[in-house]
Symmetry: C2
């Protein structure tokens, strides 16, 4: 059984590519064109490697995509951990949204979020990867929900606040921002959207009575 040893052996002809850099390039192609919109010739060209090497190192297109997702998580979504450690729920939400917008509008990367761009609607063949993306977005929402539950316990949110609902709300805004970023909306404009969310945080009876 010939298992793909990822470590480039010292024996044999040397590789002409760096595995991590190649994965970054693949991530960017998927990010910009989606899973189905990315062809193998595009991927191999961007990655600076030939097709048999791609299959030897990364398996196939789907496993390459999943590894690109992992890479995206560890290099572009690292603001999430920082955000969830903020002292207040309000600061958590703001850091999460502003971090998302900044990551989604970097001039040196495709715009939008790979976890949304990768596959939103797709053919039956691509549905496993779409479901993977859905699961990742849900996981992110779950982490926020748990953090908001803690905030309520700490008195940082009103006792009648609903962490599930608030997390769903923030996740919705975040995904909406991703759609806008993918469409080319400027970073500054997206931050003004976050201003509105933050101005009215936390949403509860206090705000409701004041705004009426």
């Amino acid at each position: 059984m010939k298992e793909s040893n990822k470590l480039p052996c010292k024996l044999g002809r040397p590789r002409t590519f760096d595995e991590e850099q190649a994965l970054d390039r693949a991530m960017e192609v998927f990010w910009e064109k989606g899973y189905e919109g990315s062809s193998l010739p595009e991927l191999t060209t961007a990655m600076g490697m030939n097709r048999p090497s791609l299959y030897a190192v990364f398996g196939n297109k789907e496993t390459l995509f999943r590894k690109a997702l992992e890479r995206y998580q560890s290099t572009r979504m690292n603001y999430c951990d920082v955000a969830l450690e903020q002292p207040t729920a309000r600061a958590v939400v703001e850091a999460l949204l502003r971090g998302a917008v900044d990551a989604q509008t970097r001039p040196d990367s495709p715009h939008g979020c790979l976890n949304v761009n990768g596959a939103l609607a797709c053919s039956d063949e691509a549905k496993p990867v779409r479901d993977e993306l859905i699961a990742r977005r849900e996981h992110s929402e779950t982490r926020l929900r748990d953090r908001l539950r803690r905030a309520r316990e700490e008195g940082d949110l009103p006792a009648d606040a609903c962490p599930e609902q608030l997390a769903r709300y923030v996740a919705t805004v975040r995904q909406g921002l991703a759609v806008q970023a993918a469409a080319g909306v400027e970073r500054a404009q997206l931050h003004t959207v976050i201003d509105i969310v933050i101005q009215s945080w936390p949403v509860g009876k206090l705000v409701q009575s004041a705004s009426q």
Copy 2:
């Protein structure tokens, strides 16, 4: 010049399909699988017609998609006109968002919004289609912005409110809801997201001071 006469002539072999119904089926396929994820065999099967007829009646895949977009606008986005005629900005926004969620979570239709699902990230070949969708979403946002401007003139919104920013915010939430709906989130849960938006509307200095 043989222009495609859409009207089925009384002469010749009769059609086995209804043009409007066929377009509805095509719309649903594009809605569920996106422009690139929809193949011609899938489309012709769903539409109950053969390929030469499809080309004779609808042009090609891209023009079929654009006609499906028109059909979507006139049959599934008709809540927009009603929403924009609501008496207050708050009622406009609520009708717009609730109408969107209801249209995006109908049990007899694909979930999500065709204007987002159709093409978010795609290959170079499909970019004209993607740009058409972006333009349609922008147009929708522009209509809301104009309505909010009117609301400010009418004193329905604070004088220091920013219609552009508010419209962008609502559009962002709306597109976020579309992503969530496409992922299979329940209608009721999405309505609770709207509850939050509406509770804190209008967002302004009043709310800001109250929430702090």
